[in-house]
Symmetry: C2
Subunit: 343 residues, 2 copies
């Protein structure tokens, strides 16, 4: 039976699943928050669908569910570091965030580096947590090698998400968060499960030829968005959020895991910028000026990114989150069997 | 008659034109360097073709050819500012660069804000100047409202270039620099001059309908690259390199100039990141690891961005730069008539 839960009730259930699977309190809490937020915001590919991948990654021993992240604030620098110590990125990010925010407000801009983490979620939870401090932010991380560079034939880059946020007073921030591939890998997975063909231009097969078959795409490579431009941005993310922070690149992640069915292990880079500091001594209030830009975009019938997500959020907060029969059955399976529910 | 000049000889001629047009030494020197670099690198849309726009903007009184940029190093912050004081961005950038580089090496990352400047060139000269210091860099600026946001119908965003660089030891850096529109405005201009239709998907007409007519495109709007993703990046650039730094956004630039035939007046944002600082305490040399990534890209037959440009550079440095009859005639016209050569 389809079932409707409050946001809090779903979060408690997901947290219970993770605790039952042996995760410590900070890992389970941070993870249940982002997974519930995905489901709440109507992002099915980052919602309860992800629980299975988390459990599979735990069971494979590729993430440490009891990790305690460690902060290195390095107060003379604009770089704040958190070592996730083999746990998930989310509790590590939460540990570093207040230090990042304080540093960015003092220096004008600062970076938070998260190392040695498993990252499996969207980036907009991080983005929104930074904009909550009145800061603009850019967030990026590698993934695993599933995307061919433009003009290439084989997987090398990750789907490498690129996300950005700008704070808006008294309302949801301006946020974008997208894969630098044409589609997110989760979307291809969902097409495969639904037995639907992919739109053209998403992927190539193992011979480097265009394909609309999700199985062939998963055996071949996805394509970057926007041709050589998206490919270049994906490469930038390998360099900044892999090589530069001394963490794994997408091909190295794939070597490490030996599979694309486990959540990827790598690092994450978060830049935070203070509009107040940047605009100091100049005319005009940056927050008011940004609103004029947003009004002009919407005034010609274009959407702001994340509008659909914020609408889903408002609905879920008012009416609860409805899960399908099979989703509920899966939650119950995880609740009773723990790690034994996954291969 | 077609004519071949050395890189230095062309630069001297361009500098002479700018001096004759009343520009001071630092403005003329910085501008002639970037224009000659464009021609040298085979970027016709940023080469001697741009001289006319510079002269037109000077004559219209929209840029100050005698401006002396002013540095505000603000040593307790990660933000370095240069006010171009109504001159071109290039000498302002050159003034701020050493302070930016020192700051990024000390703090790990830093930003250079250039305000109140006219920017008409590519961004890769800035990128390469930062990578020469062993730093990674992101550079961006608005333009004027010529691009419709995805889903919109009217010009609002600029072509807003986004550029990135990673230093490579003993060879040209990894550099990309592209418009966040499908095409650069200069490319549409060149199609118009050549009487050639545009490729599909570049632009819409004044009614918001797709067009391949360069005139109709210039009267309508260009489209962002990569649909809503490129549109989001273009918007990010308006926010960070316009609103956040207290300088004009692309629609404000268009209001200020009243024309898209003059070089745009706005600000520019340059972020510099120190791979040494970011990678401190982690395993592996970031520069060596980056080379593995570049080899893997090229190993499957894909190109690195800017490869064609670096090849053109090597050829120009060895064999000189060949200009067409009409280009030479135009240089001669500028040399004899100065500002009277333009409307």
């Amino acid at each position: 039976m389809e079932q409707t839960l409050t946001v809090d009730a779903l979060r408690d259930r997901v947290e219970g699943i993770f605790r039952h699977a042996g995760m410590n309190a900070i890992q389970a809490a941070a993870l249940s928050r982002v997974i519930t937020a995905g489901e709440r915001d109507g992002c099915k590919s980052h919602g309860v669908y992800r629980i299975e991948g988390v459990l599979r990654t735990l069971k494979a021993g590729k993430v440490l569910g009891t990790a305690e992240p460690e902060l290195d604030g390095g107060s003379d620098s604009a770089i704040v570091r958190v070592n996730a110590r083999g746990g998930f990125s989310n509790p590590a990010f939460e540990l570093g965030l207040p230090v990042l925010a304080a540093r960015a407000k003092r220096l004008g801009l600062a970076a938070l580096v998260v190392n040695d983490c498993t990252h499996f979620a969207a980036l907009w939870p991080e983005v929104e947590a930074v904009t909550d401090h009145g800061l603009a932010t850019m967030v990026m991380c590698p993934s695993y090698a599933t995307v061919a560079p433009a003009g290439g034939k084989r997987p090398l880059l990750g789907t490498n998400p690129f996300a950005f946020g700008w704070p808006r007073t008294g309302r949801a921030p301006y946020v974008f968060d997208f894969a630098t591939s044409v589609a997110a890998r989760g979307e291809i997975e969902l097409h495969r499960r639904a037995g639907k063909p992919l739109p053209k231009g998403w992927a190539i097969d193992a011979e480097g030829q265009p394909t609309t078959d999700p199985e062939a795409a998963l055996a071949g490579a996805m394509l970057p968005f926007g041709g050589h431009k998206g490919s270049a941005i994906g490469t930038m993310i390998e360099l900044l959020a892999g090589v530069m922070i001394g963490d794994l690149t997408s091909p190295e992640v794939l070597d490490f895991l030996g599979s694309t069915t486990l959540a990827p292990f790598h690092g994450e880079l978060i830049l935070a910028l203070s509009p107040e500091k940047f605009t100091a001594g100049r005319e005009g209030d940056p927050f008011a000026r940004a609103e004029l830009l947003f009004e002009a975009i919407q005034g010609q019938g274009a959407r702001l990114p994340s509008q659909r997500r914020f609408a889903a959020r408002a609905k879920a907060e008012a009416e609860g989150i409805t899960l399908s029969d099979s989703e509920i059955a899966q939650l119950e399976r995880f609740e009773s069997l723990g790690l034994n529910a996954v291969a």
